[in-house]
């Protein structure tokens, strides 16, 4: 593994920064080099929010990338922005609950996942982010489900511990959806 760059992008409040931190902590626990960098502009105050996570076995140079390997797009503006930028052979996982169009790129792995709908079905509307993470670890097990679960368990703040089972369930649902969709 040379270096893998992941962008998680969506509306503010969809938990994109948190999802990225879960991946970053997991990478740390598994002795990988990692950088996590948020968008911190006025967009944090109500508009779109994204973070870039880079995982590597070697020292990381740039913490930002123009052409990410993996994009988790939680809304349509994110799909529109990143579909054309993903590296050839990369991956786009898009939250199809919030838009209705096809993915045009054929040189990337793409998965449309109704993350909001699945989240509502399990009674946790705010966990669309972790459903997307679950789908990602199925499609690119650079970090495995076990690793991410352990990472979340290790680093989640005490006051949020009660949300652990919900987070796990959300990841499993996303994982199962990706498994079924991709065969």
């Amino acid at each position: 593994m040379k270096e893998t760059s992941i962008i998680i992008s969506g509306f503010g409040g969809q938990g994109t920064l948190f999802a990225g931190q879960v991946l970053a902590y997991t990478a740390l626990d598994n002795d990988l080099e990692v950088t996590w960098i948020p968008s911190y502009g006025p967009e944090m105050r109500g508009g779109t929010a994204h973070c870039t996570v880079i995982l590597s076995e070697e020292r990381i140079g740039s913490p930002i990338v123009g052409n990410p390997d993996i994009v988790l797009a939680l809304n349509l503006p994110s799909v529109d922005k990143y579909e054309s930028l993903i590296t050839s052979g990369g991956m786009l996982i898009a939250n199809s609950s919030l838009f209705n169009r096809e993915i045009e790129r054929e040189d990337i792995t793409s998965l449309l996942i109704p993350a909001n709908k699945i989240a509502e079905e399990i009674g946790m509307a705010r966990l669309a982010n972790m459903i997307m993470v679950g789908a990602m670890v199925k499609l690119n097990p650079i970090l495995t489900m076990e690793m991410v679960k352990a990472g979340l368990e290790e680093h989640i703040p005490k006051r949020h511990r009660k949300t652990l089972p919900g987070n796990f369930e959300a990841m499993e649902k996303g994982f199962a959806f990706a498994e079924e969709a991709m065969g």
Binding site: I37, Y40, S62, P63
Partner: protein
């Protein structure tokens, strides 16, 4: 100690606490605010002084006063905040008391924006405040290096009775990276001999930056200059990457250097012999090493997130021995690894002599690129 995932600003603040800072005086400004917030939480817990002042002007003068007591003190801000502090910084320098000042730089000039920039190079490295003084300037390029730099900054400030600027850009303040914090240092119980601590049973210490008699001021300025020459002799720090067989040297600092190191790795895979000189101390500048590199390489490419400020220092040292090219992004834009890779390829294939200001050609290319991005 083990590595933790640490957010830049919070880690820098905690590093200062571990280094024994006893007073923090500041005013919030993006993208450095988490620094102050961390201090607001932690300093009172430890019984140390934290003041959110009414302005940056007040904050730096609190640093000035507190520094005169011989305690470790500091402030942290971002570009426009540093502009407001400049008068106080000059007073601190003129009084010859130590202070550490962190600048998490953002796009400018003016109010600008809150995006990452290196546009304060001139202001930080060349002084910024009035008069004959020479700040030490450290420019770390990772969260870990910034943690280490802040601890070192206090030691340097005290050793040379100097201002030490630690400058990073907004990327560094906001990013999270695995890093290790040092153990908590003991706070010294004894004051340095020059400190104003109450003059019971001893002659008073007088700390001032007023020398009405120009002769006295000249004596002071000569003392500052001699001290600076010691700094130049002892404290130059830099890092190199892939320079051993390099035909092209990139010179860059901070985030620009990090991004360039990614591009260099890719360029090396294409067989381009390119390496990196990354000054860690921007003042004193690694002149001797750059001088040697100018004898080794065929071309130099300077990369900055500003309009070509460090470029001046590189040109000053290289003195026309090899062609220098420049690539910069301004206004809060961080160059991407592919942009720099394209520059490396261009400089590698286009081996023309560059006459005059390397910025001229870059400006023309940039203008074209920006117009292209708009379409």
């Amino acid at each position: 100690m083990t590595k933790e995932l640490l957010k830049g600003n919070e880690a820098f603040a905690e590093a200062a606490i571990r280094a024994g800072v006893e007073g923090f005086f500041g005013y919030p400004i993006t993208p450095s605010t988490e620094f102050l917030e961390h201090m607001a939480r932690r300093m009172p817990q430890l019984g140390r002084a934290f003041v959110q002042a009414e302005s940056e002007v007040a904050a730096i003068n609190m640093v000035y006063g507190a520094a005169c007591t011989g305690k470790r003190v500091m402030t942290a801000s971002s570009s426009p905040g540093l502009s407001l502090m400049m008068e106080g910084i000059s007073y601190i320098a003129g009084t010859e008391v130590p202070a550490v000042i962190v600048n998490v730089m953002r796009g400018g000039p003016g109010l600008g924006n809150i995006a990452p920039s290196q546009g304060d190079y001139y202001q930080m490295v060349k002084g910024g405040g009035h008069g004959d003084y020479f700040p030490i300037v450290l420019a770390p390029a990772s969260v870990q290096e910034a943690i280490d730099s802040i601890a070192m900054a206090f030691d340097l400030a005290e050793k040379y009775l100097s201002i030490v600027h630690v400058i990073v850009d907004g990327n560094m303040g906001q990013m999270m990276e695995p890093a290790e914090l040092p153990p908590m240092r003991e706070i010294p119980t004894e004051s340095p001999p020059w400190a104003v601590t109450g003059a019971k049973d001893r002659d008073p210490n007088i700390l001032t930056s007023i020398y009405i008699d120009p002769v006295e001021e000249e004596v002071t300025d000569l003392r500052l200059l001699k001290r600076w020459k010691e700094v130049e002799k002892n404290e130059v720090r830099y890092e190199e990457y892939a320079l051993e067989d390099a035909e092209m040297a990139i010179v860059a600092f901070g985030t620009s250097a990090r991004v360039a190191s990614s591009s260099i790795r890719d360029a090396r895979e294409e067989g381009i012999k390119v390496g990196l000189l990354r000054p860690i101390t921007l003042a004193p500048y690694p002149e001797k090493r750059l001088d040697e590199i100018s004898e080794q390489v065929e071309r130099i490419l300077v990369i900055e997130m500003n309009s070509g400020m460090m470029l001046d220092d590189v040109r000053r040292v290289v003195q026309g021995r090899v062609p220098i090219e420049f690539y910069g992004r301004m206004g809060g834009i961080t160059p991407l690894p592919d942009e720099i890779l394209d520059e490396i390829r261009r400089v590698d294939t286009n081996k023309t002599e560059v006459k005059g200001d390397p910025r001229e050609a870059w400006m023309a290319r940039l203008e074209k690129n920006i117009m292209g991005e708009d379409k």
